[in-house]
Amino acid sequence: MELVRDRLVECGWKDEMRIACREHVKKKGRKDVTVDELIRVITPKGRASVPDSVKAELLNRIQNFIVSAAL
């Protein structure tokens, strides 16, 4: 989990999400937004914008783990 976290921060995904959240809050006004609503709106954007390199690296690691655990 720490790896995923680090990678996502590194590649700027977190900052992009932060900016997206800010935009949403700016649009809705500070008082009108709830955490749940933010999550609902941002989650699809976030899932879509994870860079392929991060996905690939994690898949690789999982595969290696499974292979080594099976032996």
């Binding site: 720490e2 976290r5 921060v9 977190k14 932060r18 900016i19 800010r22 709830t34 955490v35 749940d36 999550i39």
Partner: protein
């Protein structure tokens, strides 16, 4: 101003939180003390005994956001938390298990309470106690979690520094940092401050377009000034507020300009030009498609390069020859505007020169003077094409194309070759914060000469006799380099304008100053940027000021 301060204030608690506090006070918070678990990167979670993976008590899901009720300690996911509140009256407040943040189930939103934050943060301090090195780190932990703490709050730990003085530095825009004087290097510090905060340059280096780890010159062991600047940009925007020593850049610059490698005071403007030149040399080689500067795509030229038009007119027949020269800054003569003798006044009136304001030299006066129609002396007769022989002529400069960043250099140091002396012109020059450059554009200057004619001049293209200021002719000031003192032993100070506020950068000392102070200073170099550049930078900085927390190493929220 008030907008800035309000984000530091606590938001008001919702009714449910107030009710909870009335009934239970802070005992509920403290009872969770044993359940907090700290991690190295500053995160703090709730860990229940015996339960490794917390699950929702209604649906057993563990992947969603889970909340633990303050009163009954049951765990619910975001879908079922409302159900929990409905089934159990008064069980409104819960804590986010992953993040240790308060949540009001009835309001379906996060809420904030400084006393809860106190409890959490003091647990974090104890947890991180071993790795805390200095007050700065400790303060970083607090700010990191974006807890909006009351300024009077002092958690009972001796590590904490009173937040008030820290906060002053916090509210400084990102990238503002003092530069140590390494021995009469204020001339360098002054220019560096202005360049570091020039939006196009800042964006270029911070976005890694000249990365010192990828630079081919540096890997070959060659000197590379843009790489040294990369180091400086990283340091300036690192969030560290202690003054920085640009020793590498100084050393590299010495190696390039060995004749200037002394500890004597150098000319700030000279340093500016030579630095930009070196950047062009390093950058331009790879990006320059053409030899001439006009098409160069290096950052120096993209930011500072404009085009000057020079018209030389034969006074006899009126035919004009036009040349275009690129420029990266404009040097303005101060003396002539200031000290007109009566004879000069008469001369100017006849040739339609600028109206003389004998009392106060202004920047527009200098620019008028720069774009005046100047009669070339009898010893400067030029060969006129149509007359066929050398004739007296007049010359007029105008600006064909404005750069993104306009550097105006006020010639205060007069070196007289005949008298072999130099002197400094101390007179005050009045300058505006907003500058409209359209009267100095070629279209306006040429237009004035010929009156209202609607036709293009030598491929000018868009000439409009009634042209009001086009958007790209409006400039806003962003930096002023001032020089005070004598010629040999003076001192350079830079005033920076960030988000509408002025900051005085005197080597290592930075503080906010009033507008009047800047208006009244003795300007030496004025840095203007096109309006749209400033507006764009405003937007970018507004993200950065709020996220001061990210400037500190612990990067989670």
């Amino acid at each position: 101003m008030s907008a800035r301060i309000s984000f530091l204030k606590n938001p008001d608690p919702c009714n449910h939180l107030s009710d909870y506090k009335l009934r239970y006070g802070t005992d509920g918070y403290k009872s969770f003390n044993n359940l907090f678990r700290c991690f190295n990167d500053g995160r703090i979670k709730i860990k229940l005994q015996g339960i490794d993976i917390p699950r929702c008590s209604y649906c057993s899901v563990y992947q969603k956001r889970l909340y633990i009720c303050l009163i009954c300690r049951s765990i619910s996911c975001s879908s079922h938390i409302l159900l929990h509140t409905q089934l159990n009256k008064g069980h409104d407040i819960a804590i986010d298990v992953e993040r240790s943040e308060l949540y009001c189930c009835a309001c379906i939103d996060q809420v904030y309470d400084s006393e809860f934050d106190e409890v959490v943060v003091s647990k974090q301090l104890i947890g991180l106690g071993m790795s805390v090195k200095s007050g700065a780190d400790v303060v970083a932990v607090r700010s990191n979690k974006k807890r909006r703490l009351d300024s009077q709050l002092i958690i009972g730990s001796k590590f904490l520094v009173s937040p008030r003085d820290r906060r002053e530095k916090w509210t400084f825009p990102l990238g503002l940092r003092g530069l140590n004087n390494l021995g009469s290097t204020c001339f360098m510090n002054a220019v560096l401050q202005a360049l570091v905060h020039a939006p196009p340059l800042r964006n270029f280096w911070l976005s890694g377009q000249h990365n010192r780890d990828l630079c081919p010159r540096r890997t070959m062991g060659l000197l590379c000034l843009p790489c040294d600047l990369d180091v400086i940009f990283s340091a300036m925007f690192s969030g560290d507020r202690t003054p920085y020593s640009p020793a590498h850049l100084l050393y590299s610059w010495w190696q390039h300009s060995t004749n200037l490698a002394t500890y004597e005071q150098q000319d700030s403007h000279e340093f500016f030009i030579s630095l930009l030149d070196r950047i062009h040399e390093n950058e331009g080689k790879s990006k320059c498609l053409y030899q001439d500067h006009e098409e160069c795509q290096c950052i120096t030229h993209k930011a500072f390069s404009g085009l000057l038009r020079s018209d030389v007119t034969c006074t006899t027949c009126g035919s004009t020859s036009t040349t275009y020269d690129p420029f990266i800054d404009i040097s303005l003569t101060l003396d002539s505007v200031n000290g007109f003798s009566p004879a000069d006044c008469r001369k100017n009136r006849y040739s339609g020169g600028p109206s003389v304001n004998a009392t106060m030299p202004t920047l527009s006066g200098c620019l008028d003077f720069f774009t005046r129609s100047e009669k070339l002396g009898p010893d400067q007769k030029l060969n006129c094409q149509s007359c066929g022989e050398k004739r007296e002529s007049s010359k007029q400069m105008s600006i064909r194309r404005l750069p993104l960043l306009l550097c105006l250099h006020v010639k205060r140091f007069e070196h007289s070759l005949t008298r072999k002396t130099s002197r400094k012109i101390d007179s005050y020059l009045q300058y505006p914060f907003r500058l409209n450059m359209s009267p100095y554009l070629s279209s306006s200057i040429i237009g004035k000469r010929f009156g209202n004619r609607i036709f293009a001049f030598d491929g000018e293209g868009e000439y409009d006799s009634s042209s009001s200021s086009s958007p790209s002719a409006e400039f806003e000031i962003f930096a002023v380099v001032t020089h005070s003192g004598m010629l040999e032993s003076g001192h350079y100070v830079t005033y920076l304008r960030l988000k509408g506020l002025w900051y005085r950068c005197d080597d290592a000392w930075i503080n906010e100053v009033e507008e009047e102070v800047v208006r009244g200073c003795e300007c030496y170099m004025l840095f203007y940027a096109q309006e749209r550049v400033i507006q764009k930078a405003h937007k970018e900085l507004s993200y950065q000021v709020i996220s001061m927390a990210d400037a500190f190493p612990f990067a989670d929220c």
